[in-house]
């Protein structure tokens, strides 16, 4: 390949891979021309509002709609009884369970959907909701998952009584959902018996909510003449929604069109299918008019897609030098009243088997038991690949606990146990196959950057003065890019993704993908990949996603799968076009393919200056001057089924200062080094990392959905639920190394979720480290000032001298 100044200049003009290209999405957003679900209006559109239960567990005695129906402007009030004849009162969840669309005879979580009111506008609908009279008979609420399997526990799911063959395993109790385990239990138990040192810690990864700034919504419009249902949905997976809607309604999939327009953030919240979407669609079918449902913030936080809520017991076995011999983890997973976790079908605990982390651990065993409680369903991957945050949290916490027990430095113990560069690809004890990594380089780079030794020295001095300073270190490995269809599917559809590229006669291109952006700048970055592959300037490549009538089928954007799967499909599709282009070029230049070499945006005849055809020339020829027998046109589709997952990693370090009198924890410094393989757009990557770190900060330091013993959710509005402002948010320092994935066409691994996954245990580690000299080994999140103060108080640190 030529590297002349001229060709470098041409390459720069393309704005391809590696360029911090400005975003294509921005011009419309900064001028108020975004097009989100609630922005869309249709002639004759009606508004839906949902009647919800004040009880966490109650039998519905009666529903009286008379008064609501009498209100002028109200068109319908639908209950489960109305949906029954259509068999739409229950729907399948992504986790192999079913969920009530509208409560069928009883309610099983607070604010569950009981009825839906359809009216002319949102004000009338809200009035009518108050006029629907529902009589309940309260039942005892089951809130503590540790009591779910008690013999006298109230049975939450009466529809499942006697059905002991669960979707994933035998059920051991009416409130039990599944047992999932992985690893060699026997060898692990043995390693613990033989170990010189063992540590054990119980930790609660609390219930949180992704809380994107735009809530969930749907505008459904059923065309009675064509028999076609069109729905604008806030969905991270529009094609999956189409398949489910078709299966549920019996409308042929060709007559269901799902459009994900601009989406105001997803973070996992917009993966599942919610009763609100279904009721809007049903109402539109029944009434023959467009119906819009958009949830309020309170509804969003209370009823749609929570994350985490895992009670974890972690254990490590090691020798006296700190070499880890075995990991054992037991988890009690609170899934709420319906198992609506968004995981690949065969993975009820997601990708939790990554819990051996970045370490060379010979023996491991993990077991997860899912149970029902009277809480909202969910279990989505909040800015992470499925259950990866939980996995990283447990192993990173345990490594710290072990270091404290052995009196070892927390960086040193990691360097000692890392999988070494020459061990890749590295098969873990729990069945992951780490593709590539260089963990030592990453951590050492961070330690040097912050002058780690000096920090520890300062900490010693502070401790001597009775001050609290903590240093948290986390070296995480993620598993993303679900996934290989031999093991990964959602409702039976393999988790491939797709790209379709068309090069027009004059050389510009249109590409459509099965993924959907929610702020990740797909319109910008996909074009960069195609630009580099085909030599067409990014500016001349139009990217479209989200409309199931036009885009190829794909599983959507979540779990950091867009770069590992969607971008791979894009590169492969582009390479198919390039292969055809080479043949056309050879034909035009009257040489054989072998005589050609690619140079940025053109094929050249090797050794013959001036003999060349640009991609523009080739595009034109593709429509009028082809080799004999070749099909006209220049386009390709690729459905990319990844051979493996990708494993991004990173090393994070956080320094906190804690006021022992108030518990206020100040993040003095946060240094984040990420390795996501090949970097497609460094500016976008940096932005994603800032965002992920900030969401991690929110989870670790304040976000929590808690419940009282009666099942009342405590704090389900932004009055209580912690979304950090610019004032609380720390300043982030970022860094990177590049270790390409060996199996990805571009070497890229995915990035947006690493900072969330990696930062959360870093904050906990830093807070706990501040108390480590006082024999504190773990503190549960969120590390709000009050809770940190409680620890200071318990230790008597808040007493004035």
């Amino acid at each position: 390949m030529s590297t002349s100044a001229e060709s470098i200049e041409r390459e720069e003009k393309l704005q391809g891979v590696g360029c911090s290209r400005k975003r294509k999405e921005d011009p419309r957003f900064i001028q108020g021309k975004g097009n989100y679900v609630d922005d869309i209006k249709m002639p004759g559109m009606l508004c839906a509002e949902i009647v919800r239960s004040p009880y966490a567990h109650a039998r519905i005695i009666s529903i009286d709609k008379t008064e609501a129906l009498a209100l002028p402007g109200v068109h319908a009030v639908l209950t489960a009884d109305d949906l029954k004849p259509l068999d739409l009162h229950w729907m399948p969840t992504l986790a192999g369970d079913v969920q009530a669309v509208l409560a069928d005879e009883k309610v099983v979580f607070q604010m569950q959907e009981v009825a839906v009111v359809i009216a002319n506008d949102r004000y009338i609908a809200a009035d009518a909701v108050q006029l629907v009279k529902v009589e309940y008979e309260p039942l005892p609420a089951l809130v503590d998952p540790h009591k779910s399997m008690d013999s006298d526990a109230p049975v939450i799911r009466e529809d499942l009584i006697g059905k002991m063959d669960g979707a994933h395993s035998k059920r051991l109790h009416d409130n039990h959902i599944f047992t999932w385990d992985v690893g060699d239990k026997e060898s692990t138990d043995q390693a613990f018996e033989d170990a010189e040192v063992t540590v054990k810690e119980n930790m609660f990864y609390h219930r949180v909510h992704p809380c994107p700034l735009e809530t969930c919504g749907c505008l459904a419009s059923f065309d009675k003449i064509e028999g076609k249902l069109t729905a604008y949905v806030t969905s991270q997976a529009p094609h999956v929604v189409r398949t489910v809607v078709s299966m549920l309604s019996g409308i042929p999939e060709s007559k269901v069109r799902i459009i994900s327009p601009d989406i105001g953030g997803g973070f996992g919240n917009k993966v599942p299918i919610y009763p609100g979407y279904v009721t809007a669609m049903v109402a539109s079918i029944v009434l023959g008019r467009p119906v819009k449902w958009v949830e309020s913030r309170i509804e969003n936080l209370t009823t749609t897609g929570f994350a985490r809520d895992w009670h974890m017991e972690g254990e490590l076995a090691a020798d006296n030098e700190g070499r880890i011999k075995a990991l054992r983890v037991n988890v009690l997973a609170d899934h709420g009243a319906f198992d609506a976790c968004a995981d690949p079908s065969k993975f009820p605990a997601g990708m939790f088997h990554i819990c051996t982390g970045s370490y060379d651990i010979p023996n491991a065993y993990a077991r997860v038991d899912g149970v029902y409680t009277n809480k909202a369903p969910g279990g989505v991957a909040y800015r992470c690949s499925f259950r990866v945050t939980e996995a990283v949290y447990v192993v990173e916490r345990m490594v710290d606990v072990l270091a404290q027990k052995l009196g070892m430095d927390k960086a040193e113990i990691r360097l000692k146990n890392f999988v070494k560069p020459e061990q890749f690809p590295y098969p873990t004890a729990l069945g992951a196959n780490l593709d590539s990594g260089d963990y030592h380089t990453a951590l050492n780079k961070v330690l040097d950057a912050v002058d780690y030794k000096e920090l520890r020295k300062e900490q010693e001095e502070k401790r001597a003065n009775g001050e609290l300073m903590g240093i948290g270190i986390v070296t995480f490995t993620e598993i993303v890019g679900a996934g290989p269809s031999k093991s990964c599917d959602i409702l039976g559809v393999g988790m491939f993704d797709s790209a379709e590229i068309r090069v027009h006669p004059t050389g510009s291109a249109l590409a459509r993908m099965g993924t959907i952006t929610q702020g990740q700048a797909h319109q910008t970055t996909y074009a960069q990949i195609i630009a580099t592959e085909l030599g067409i300037p990014s500016e001349e490549i139009q990217i479209e996603e989200g409309d199931t009538d036009t885009a190829p089928y794909g599983l959507g954007t979540y779990g950091s799968r867009t770069t590992p799967v969607g971008a791979a499909a894009t590169a492969v599709a582009a390479r198919k076009i390039k292969a055809k282009a080479a043949k056309i070029a050879a034909h035009l230049l009257e040489v054989s393919d072998d005589d050609l070499e690619w140079d940025v945006d053109r094929f050249k005849v090797k050794g013959v200056p001036g003999q060349e055809k640009t991609m523009k020339d080739i595009a034109w020829a593709a429509y009028n001057n082809l080799p004999e027998g070749m099909e006209p046109g220049l386009e390709a589709v690729d459905y990319y089924d990844p051979p493996e997952y990708t494993y991004p990693f990173g090393a994070y370090l956080c320094v906190v200062d804690i006021d022992k009198y108030t518990g206020v924890t100040k993040v003095r410094r946060f240094y984040a080094l990420d390795d996501c393989g090949t970097r497609i757009n460094p500016m976008v990557i940096e932005g994603q990392i800032h965002g992920g770190l900030t969401e991690g900060y929110a989870v670790a330091m304040g976000q929590e959905l808690s419940f009282d013993p009666e099942g009342n959710i405590e704090g389900n509005s932004l009055m209580d639920y912690f979304l950090p402002t610019a004032v609380e948010t720390p300043h982030w320092e970022t860094d990177y190394t590049v270790t390409p994935s060996p199996h990805h066409p571009l070497g890229a691994k995915g990035v947006a979720e690493s900072p969330h996954v990696g930062s959360i245990p870093t904050f906990t580690a830093a807070v706990v480290d501040a108390f480590a000299h006082l024999d504190v080994t773990h503190m549960n999140m969120p590390h709000s000032a009050y809770r940190v103060w409680q620890k200071c108080h318990e230790l008597g640190l808040d007493k004035a001298k």
Partner: protein, 192 residues
């Protein structure tokens, strides 16, 4: 959420009058700020409503009161009140046993032991203030109750009390009430 309340009010009146008034369900209900009995269904069942306004939120509960037991011997009354707010977003239940006794100082005492359970919006938003709110409601109730009993007596203080009773606030309202809750809340923070 559940709040357990345990209250003793000193009543400036006889045990007999206190017990007599305690059995007057509509009368007792009207001592509860914002509460009233709207219908007597039978000897032991009443319908009533409670209106509470704290800050910007107004909640109007409608529900049933069922007398579980009237024990002449112990001078005690046990009832359960259950209601839902008219907007369907909240529900409340109160299980109350009230009794009359002679206190250690010799004065008549009204003893109330109650469990209040609230669900829905009122718990979501007001959960943390619930103990203080309930406490303030009961304090007002105690005052009103005492005045009613005093008014059953004779003399100047009875006339005075009767006047106060007539002016009894009809709903839980206003800044003064919010303020007293706030003060109670602060006390609870620093009292421990």
């Amino acid at each position: 959420m559940k709040v357990d309340l345990d209250k003793v009010f000193e009543i400036d009146g006889s045990e007999k009058n206190t017990w007599t008034f305690l059995q007057d369900i509509p009368g007792v209900a009207s001592c509860m700020p914002g509460a009233e009995i709207t219908e007597q269904v039978d000897a032991n069942n009443y319908k009533g409503k409670v209106r509470a306004k704290v800050g910007p939120a107004t909640m109007s509960f409608e529900g049933d009161i069922e007398i579980q037991e009237i024990n002449e011997e112990n001078k005690s009354l046990h009832f359960i009140g259950k209601g839902q707010d008219t907007k369907g977003t909240s529900a409340a239940e109160m299980d109350l046993t009230a009794s009359v006794r002679k206190g250690e100082s010799g004065a008549t005492e009204l003893v109330g032991v109650a469990t209040v359970t609230v669900t829905g919006k009122v718990a979501n938003f007001g959960g943390r203030m619930m103990t203080q709110v309930a406490d303030q409601i009961l304090n007002q109730f105690g005052k009103n109750f005492a005045n009613n009993v005093v008014a059953m007596g004779e003399g100047e203080s009875a006339e005075e009390a009767a006047k106060v009773v007539a002016e009894q606030p009809k709903e839980l309202n206003g800044l003064a009430f919010a303020w007293s809750i706030f003060v109670g809340y602060l006390k609870s923070l620093f009292g421990k």
